[in-house]
Amino acid sequence: MSDLDAYRTKAAAWLESMVPTYGKEARKGLSVEEDLAIARQYQRAKFDAGYAGINWPTEYGGQGLGHLEKVTFDGEEMKHGFPSFYFGISLGMPIPVLMQFGSDKEFVKERVLKALKGEEIWCQLFSEPSGGSDLAGLRTKAEADGNGWRINGQKIWTSWAQYSDYGVIVVRTDPNVPKHKGLTYFWVDMKAPGVTVRPIKLVGGDSHVNEVFFDDVKISDDHRMSPVGGGFAVAIATLMIERYVATDSAGFGPHLDLFVDLAKDTELNGKPAIEDGRIRQQIARNYAMRSGLQSITARAMAMMQAGMVPGPEGSLNKLVAVRSRQKLSELAIDLQGSGGFAYDDHASQKENWTSSWINAPTGRIAGGSDETLLNTIAEKILGLPQDHRPDKGVPFNQIPA
């Protein structure tokens, strides 16, 4: 047994022991607030057992292990539906960025530890009503104010902002230069005077994203995490972190086995649906697509293990997987015919086709829309030209709104 297999076995056993307290069944019927309280306990248990910050440096309270251990653990954890998603953004991007770019090491260390233990949560305040894909088009501004800055404006789609203690934010500090050049990166205290968070209800019924308003919010200059005007580079670094995080070939929807079971159990024209060519074709093609993604991921892991840099094909994961999940979920509902109307907004997206379907569109937008991902593949990997960008080189305040 390889070291990694041993690690997997140990992690799987530990996770199994957590199911009675923190698994889906144990949390049924809880309000979001109650669930979050349990989630914090689960995160703390992970920390105590050595499964938090698996691939982070030990000096910050991490375990100092590799990506492989991290991905191995995540793969096992995913099987049980634990409430780890509250910390997904926090530990996914803002905290790693803080470790990389935060200047006050004592402060950073304290924040990292609290986040790892589930005591504090961070959010990522990038998107705005005027700019999601066009990140550099944001309008929230920070103006110099004595020794610090004053922030005014609005962010949107901020995941978990209502439960966050801190956030990382990109704002405009100079509207007189081209858009990418006038941005600066800060962290903010989400409980500071002038910060208002307003939840947005999403299609699936949940409200984990928010509008966040900044009204004369004062911050000192030690909140700055980039040079003045150098925020875009840090924002891109944030988005680049954890590239192989989205390695679920099911696109965070149900496993294909569940579709096969459904097709076996459902009758179509008096015969089991599994005998229908259209159904078989979809199963086969989805299997081929997913096995391709799994092979890409497996190779990437092997490369990292061998100290090599994985190829760019890992960037296909989210793009390909979520689209196919969306279509397969539609088909699963079709297959149930008039038995397919029922909807339970507490059902798991990984087990319930209707829940998977209604929430799939979020996956095609959040973390980069299909179109921007295709642009990235075309431009960065295939060397195709950049889109025509009429705002290029134009001072931000002269771009027609």
């Binding site: 096969v260 078989r280 074709q281 086969a284 081929a288 096995s291």
Partner: protein, 364 residues
């Protein structure tokens, strides 16, 4: 678990690519489309000379003892350059059938010739639309074959064929000498594949496998060939994607290169996805040779590679506008090959069924 190619394997890929790029060009391939019965002997001579025919066969019979991974890498390059001979797959399939299921005498009799490339092999399993029929149309009585095998790739040139036949009350897998077999040439959209209907009439045949095991054996041989074909398809798809990309950054319209239009740019990015998924499935399948899930992995490779090559050749032509459909440019060589390879070794419908049978545990 997938594999990473080691240095030796990477060298095989680089070297075969260099050799094929130097020796195969479209001006030699285009005329082959207009005649029936000719193939690119430049490719086949290269294959023999480079030892590709011996690559995946046992050392005891003149082979080099490498495997599907290495042969797959060469097939990938052959697909890129459209190398026009079907024997890389057919001879390999026939040889593997004999190696895996034949007696020592049969191996000694056939394998050295197949390894050196002097003997050309074919595999004749299909009957009409069915890649592996429950009741084969060829019958075996007293060690003699009668009936017709349809659309055999390489059938016009092959010296021997491994045939899936209907024995007395049970299927059989046999090997037959094709010297006196009637060959009805098929005038095809991809003529250098040398498709033929083979007419057996009292043709002597040697038995490899009898009974229920014959079908499993035939499916296994088909899966081995499917993995090689999938590599070839992926190579072709990759070439089409690159040709499309290269054209998109040079051809101009409305004051800019056409690659700046998202409908063109995104289409090429989508092709990248098809090609990489197919490649990943090919690498995985080749690494599963000999494992219980090999047929499943082969089916997945075949499905994604067929989708990749068809999509890439379709879109590459479209991206070229009028130029795409000219005879001289030769993109249609790929369009044709994408379709011929899609049918050889079982079409999509066949492999989709095989795969789903495996996934539902209903495998025959």
């Amino acid at each position: 678990m997938s594999i990473l190619y080691d240095e030796g394997q990477q060298a095989i890929a680089t070297e075969s690519r260099r050799v094929l790029e130097a020796r195969v060009n479209k001006d030699e391939l285009l005329p082959l489309l207009e005649v029936t019965g000719k193939y690119h002997d430049g490719f086949w001579n290269t294959a023999k000379e480079q030892g590709w025919t011996a690559l995946a066969l046992p050392e005891a019979y003149g082979g080099l003892d490498l495997g599907l991974v290495e042969l797959g890498l060469i097939a990938h390059q052959a697909g890129r350059s459209l190398s026009g001979a079907p024997f890389l797959t057919g001879s390999f399939g026939a040889a593997k059938a004999i190696e895996l299921y034949g007696s020592d005498e049969q191996k000694a009799k056939y394998l050295p010739g197949l390894a050196s490339g002097e003997t050309i092999g074919a595999v004749a399993f299909a009957s009409g639309s069915n890649a592996l029929p429950t009741l084969p149309s060829v019958t075996l009585t007293d060690n003699r074959l009668d009936g017709t095998s349809t659309g055999v790739a390489g059938g016009l040139a092959a010296d021997i064929a491994v045939v899936y036949a209907n024995g007395p009350g049970m299927p059989v897998l046999v090997v037959a000498d094709l010297t006196n077999v009637a060959r009805n040439a098929i005038d095809s959209f991809d003529n250098s594949r040398l498709y033929a209907d083979l007419g057996f009439a009292g043709t002597p045949a040697e038995t490899l496998v009898v009974g229920g095991a014959a079908r499993d054996a035939a499916l296994h041989v088909l899966a081995l060939q499917a993995v090689i074909t999938a590599h070839e398809q992926t190579g072709g798809a990759e070439a089409m994607m690159e040709i499309a990309r290269d054209y998109a950054v040079t051809r101009r319209a409305f004051g800019q290169v056409i690659g700046a239009f998202q409908s063109i740019k995104h289409r090429i990015a989508e092709l990248y996805g098809f090609v990489e998924l197919a490649r990943a499935n090919c690498i995985h399948a080749a690494s599963r040779e000999g494992q219980a899930d090999f047929v499943t992995a082969a089916a997945a490779a075949r499905i994604s590679a067929t989708e990749a090559y068809d999509s890439a050749s379709r879109d590459c032509v479209q991206i070229h506008g009028g130029m795409g459909v000219t005879w001289e440019l030769g993109l249609h060589l790929h369009t044709r090959r994408a379709r011929s390879l899609a049918i050889e070794q079982g079409n999509l419908l066949f492999w989709e069924d095989v795969l789903v049978d495996r996934l539902t545990g209903e495998a025959a």
